[in-house]
Symmetry: C2
Subunit: 190 residues, 2 copies
């Protein structure tokens, strides 16, 4: 039972889980081997080193996010309504017991001054997300306003991602969102 290359995506998924929870410096490669069931040799052959695996983890996480956002927008009656749903879901997530913020945001903060490559990668992925929102808002608002509003959405998402740890009522978050993003089609009384 050798050969039979391991399932790469499954492995990266395990790495996402671990790194997301504990961060780059808070996760050891020994933990990675335990989480993935692989031996060091296999991991190092496939990903070169810890940074390589971390970057692929960031990449997979970000691409899933991008797909999820586009999917939600495609399903909804309008991009605005989809965005409301996405933000409300984030607020709901933030109230869960083991809330864990966002892998990209956490990485961006942790690696700001220590690993500029991974920091830049996370940054780039966050800007891709912003660009996706801008792209979907452009038909309705025109490019300039869409860009400004996408930036505003990202700004508010970051607010949720940190304020979520305060464990106050979700109403506080929802209210801040509705006040700060009044141009979104919020459901009444929500």
């Amino acid at each position: 039972m050798t050969k039979a290359k391991f399932d790469r995506e499954e492995t990266i998924n395990s790495a996402v889980e671990l790194f997301w929870k504990n961060g780059f410096n808070g996760s050891s490669m020994q933990q990675v081997t335990k989480a993935t069931g692989l031996k060091p040799g296999s991991i190092y052959l496939a990903f070169e080193n810890k940074q390589g695996l971390y970057q692929e983890a960031l990449d997979l996480y970000a691409n899933k996010s991008l797909e999820g956002i586009q999917h939600q927008i495609d399903q909804a009656a309008s991009p605005g309504e989809a965005i409301c749903q996405i933000l409300q879901e984030m607020v709901r997530t933030a109230s869960e017991k083991n809330y864990n913020s966002c892998f990209l945001v956490k990485s961006q903060l942790e690696l700001a001054s220590e690993n500029s490559e991974l920091h830049a990668f996370a940054n780039q992925k966050l800007q891709q997300i912003e660009a996706l929102y801008a792209h979907n808002l452009t038909p309705e608002f025109g490019e300039d306003l869409a860009n400004a509003r996408a930036a505003s959405i990202m700004f508010h998402i970051f607010g949720i991602r940190v304020y979520g740890y305060h464990k106050k009522s979700p109403d506080v978050l929802l209210r801040a969102l509705q006040d700060g993003l009044p141009w979104l089609p919020w459901p009444d009384h929500a």
Copy 2:
């Protein structure tokens, strides 16, 4: 030249600088000894361990922040104007070359699932800051509205603290702040 207890605050200040930049797991006690000029024995006698020193670093940083906020409010014509100044200063800081977010925010994210004591401590300090804003807004808005608006301020501060890494024009940040906090007395054309 022994005895003569070292300057505790100066030491903690060096620790703040190091921990703020590199985080808890990204900073070693060897780095601490280099940064403070103290030997391990002195540090461990005075702070018990790495966590103890880190907590005192958080405490000093937070107390300085609290004092700074109150001082700015006391100097200004109104709490609202002081808050505008504080937020504008944060935006300015975020555009600097070696922007480093906020020590409390970074700690809160890094230590969420690994060190619940330090995580809780950072959380508590952030809530103290929120309470200080609420306290200063209460005379003008009444307690309920002041609480809601203090929460909204914190929410926006977190947005700055993460979005700041994107290195876009400060106008984007300022615009998001003015849109999200329209009840603040923003200077015209700013």
